[in-house]
Symmetry: C2
Subunit: 229 residues, 2 copies
DNA sequence: TCAAAAGTGTTCATCTTACACCCATGG
DNA sequence: CCATGGGTGTAAGATGAACACTTTTGA
């Protein structure tokens, strides 16, 4: 069955930049294409938006299909519509970015035949289409947003140490932070709760585990509180 | 002539939230629809994206066609794709926002039959489609962005007084600012240049006219300078 | 001479920054 | 006992907030 319109229409896709953090580096999840165009090249997970499907749903569906990731932080990034961005025809892509803790979402075998892998951000292969531009846009957004919204926690397990949190900020912002000042500031917000637990199986003094108080943050935000750093 | 595809495709539009500032209030430019659906209702200027046309070009073309505005500040806002947002069929809209100085872009008679008018932001009529949501998103973006990027100047004439600038910030941010502190801070950036001219035809002491030093700002930005306020 | 906005500095409080040592744990 | 990261306070400097009067101009 075919579908006919009075005027030509661009096709519509979603693409997802999935960031993962893992005790060391910030990574991005890529998929090796098995179809033309760019067969064999690495690309962002994504695909065509179905009719009567919301954009965010399309992004979540494609993520689940291609990477197995579900119920993760996902936010719209930007829409890319340069006429030549796909060699086949005019395809407009609405890009999203997602944040996951690699500790809680272990490197996935894709559910279908396609190969998925995490790449260190400073060691990514050539990407298909304009996906390098989309990735660069996502990195800029992450760097900008992490300073004034508490999205960094999405990259950590639900319980984390202050050392992990500081390390995450250092990697994302690409700058060293002073340990005492960082702790003072972050604890000063009152948004971290000491769980009473401590790290297990570490070869040094075990650190306290904290969690982010989302409830409290939402209350403060209503009163005009804005983040920090 | 018709166009046929294997799978159904959503239609693609652009919509523009045009903010104007005018010695007093922040306004938005709306157009009264003369076609169904929502005939007679006010809506954001916009229309269908042509095939092989970039999204930004489509937005600029529609703006020129419907409002006569050209060469203005324009930036992508967000994409709206809820399946029910248009009663006819699934139409995805990429929204943009634009900033103009009303002093330099006088209220336009639309070039075609449609009526265009500037509405005070706290006195807008019911809007067609999901345009209220788009407008609310644009206002939030403007408020957020004005604090850390010098986009406020796009809403003023190229030469402006510090009083006008302060007033603009007060209106956009919805808070009163201290005159002396505001001047100290804004002049302290070194990004305003005294043109040597002064206001004409005002019924009180004439103020100096400044302009924003875009060149200097771009240089500072490269060195990691970020805005303020 | 009145009204309306322009222009101008100082003080106090707050926040930011720089900085070094001991502690607990496992290997 | 050593290596590794955890945990802690203070002082100096920078930044932000509060605050009132004189000047200029046209009506």
């Amino acid at each position: 069955m075919t579908h006919t319109y009075q005027y030509p229409r661009a096709a519509l896709t979603v693409d997802c930049v999935v960031f993962g953090f893992d005790e060391g580096d910030l990574k991005v999840l890529l998929i090796q294409r098995d179809l033309e165009p760019f067969s064999g090249k690495w690309a962002l997970p994504g695909g065509f938006v179905h009719i009567k499907e919301s954009l965010e749903n399309a992004a979540r569906r494609e993520l689940a299909e291609e990477t197995g990731l579900k119920n993760i932080f996902l936010e719209q990034l930007y829409s890319f519509g340069a006429p030549e961005r796909d060699p086949r025809e005019h395809i407009v892509s609405v890009a999203y970015y997602a944040l996951v803790s690699l500790a809680e979402h272990r490197p996935q075998a894709a559910t279908d035949a396609r190969q998925a892998a995490w790449f260190n951000l400073d060691d990514t292969p050539d990407l298909a289409f304009d996906h390098e531009e989309i990735l660069a846009t996502a990195i800029a957004r992450l760097r900008g947003k992490v300073r004034y919204e508490p999205i960094g926690f999405e990259l950590l397990p639900s319980r984390f140490t202050l050392g992990q949190l500081q390390h995450l900020y250092q990697v994302v912002l690409e700058e060293k932070l002073d340990k005492r000042n960082f702790r003072k500031k972050i604890l000063g917000t009152g948004l971290l709760v000491d769980t009473g637990e401590i790290q297990q199986d570490v070869a040094h003094r075990a650190a306290r585990l904290y969690r982010f108080d989302e409830r409290k943050y939402q209350q403060l935000r209503k009163r005009g509180f804005s983040f920090w750093l």
